[in-house]
């Protein structure tokens, strides 16, 4: 049971989501964040006021997965988020002590396993 945190470029988000969907990773949280990964600063000018944009828009993905899903998830993100230029982002894999699914009260492995689709 791991928590995978990935910081990626916003314009790669759709590709990453597509790749995750193909590897059948379903539960995730996405947030828009600002960050700096050593890339060249962008310069913008507004009527004589020139500014360096130190912080770039990034997207943070948080995905709780069971052990068998750790590697495929990381691989999917690495493949889809890479452009080869500085600023592509990072993937962190963190140990998780406990997970609870709020709806059912299930714990740990059961809580990060997607519920079986309900037959209509």
């Amino acid at each position: 049971m791991k928590l995978i945190v990935a910081i990626i470029r916003p314009d790669r988000l759709n590709e990453v989501l597509e790749a995750l969907y193909r590897t059948e990773v379903r539960g995730l949280t996405v947030s828009r964040v600002l960050g700096h990964g050593g890339e060249t600063d962008r310069v913008e000018t507004y009527r004589g006021t020139t500014v360096k944009m130190e912080l770039h828009e990034k997207v943070r993905l948080e995905i709780g997965v069971s052990e068998p899903f750790v590697n495929v998830t990381v691989k999917a993100i690495l493949g889809a988020a890479r452009t080869g230029e500085v600023g592509d982002g990072k993937v962190f894999v963190l140990d998780v002590k406990q997970v609870h699914r709020i709806r059912t009260g299930e714990r740990d492995e059961a809580a990060v396993t997607p519920p079986l689709p309900v037959e209509a």
Binding site: R9, D11, R12, N14, L34, H36, R42, V43, E44, T45, Y46, T49, T50, V51, K52, M53, E54, L55, H56, T83, E85
Partner: protein
Amino acid sequence: MTQLPTLLALQSAPPAVVPADTAWMLVATALVLLMTPALAFFYGGLVRSKNSLNTMMMSYAALGVVGIVWALLAYSLAFSDGNAIIGSTTNALLAGVGTEAKGTIPHLLFMAFQGTFAIITAALISGAVVERMRFGPYLVFLVAWSLLVYAPVAHWVWGGGWLMSRGVLDFAGGTVVHINAGVSALVAALVLGARKDYSRQAILPHSVPFTLLGAGLLWFGWFGFNGGSALASNELAALAFTNTFLAPMATLVVWVLLDYFRTGRATAVGGATAIVVGLVAITPAAGFVSPAGALVLGAIAALPSYFAIVFRSRTRLDDSLDVFAGHGIGGATGALLTGVFAQKAWNSAGADGLLAGNPAQLGIQALGVATSMVYAGFMTFFILKALGLVMALRAEPRTEGIGMDVSEHGEEAYSNGEGSILVIQESKASAPAPVLTPQAAAR
């Protein structure tokens, strides 16, 4: 615009400037100029926020670039005496364009009024290439297109060229402006190719209120566009004005009903589009049809454009903001329906249409539509292919991903200033960069 009344006036009396006509045309010129910023809002709302400044600048840039080209050369090519195909360079650099009467208004004012048409026509094309065409090549395209496509077609229909002498009715520019721009947009979209995200992910309008605002302001400006095309403050202007008032209303209602019955929901983007389509359709007919005819024309015009948009969005053709469906098809519908609803009873300088017992007019209208479509399509293809040989028309896929605002203009539409550091010029201290923008400092 029909210049027949003007020409008749020229024959019967020595030309003189009429103050009432001048007053109205001064206002009408300002109204038409406002349509280009309005178009910027209409288009700007329909794109993603990362491309909104670029999209709006494509319209605003036409105000500068096309306006200058118009004054320097294009006006002369369109409106000075020449042959049936093109005018001459008699009035190049505004030579001989002064305060003397042209019709019943000062020649300069006529030039300015026509210039506002050239500007918005070129700006209309941008809707087909947004979110991917580089800004520099776009500016060069504007110059080439104004000279090689707009000026000749304007000469054919309004400047004494061959379509004018065949009796094609185009009151305010259904052919010259809308078919011309619509077909050019279609070709430009094909030459440029689809956006990298097109039909791979959802591309949603970033500000529907902008689009509604733009449509409303376009309508307001269009009273100058159509009403001003009478080139005088008279009964004909009132007819064109009223038809411009009525036709989009019918289009709006029919469009909303179509939306409602097809999807169960009346959309705001659809409503904004309907207003523009109705305005486009009434443009060639405004001074030739009855107000009742305008209502029917507006209602009918909703159908082809509506279904063209539905169909287009299922194809690989990325005419991003549906310039062809709106202006090309809307303009052709209006031009053809002018040949159906025109009545000499309403404008003696016009002609009777199909319903008034003159089916031949419909054929003449079809000739105007077809020739301008072929010419505009071919020339736009040629211009873009030629430009493509010497410069890259499209942004790199990576740049497209970041967005054209940052890459082409070095600005963002909606920056909150977080993480931005003021760059101090070298003459001042090289001390660590001081703080931030007001928003960030206030935190």
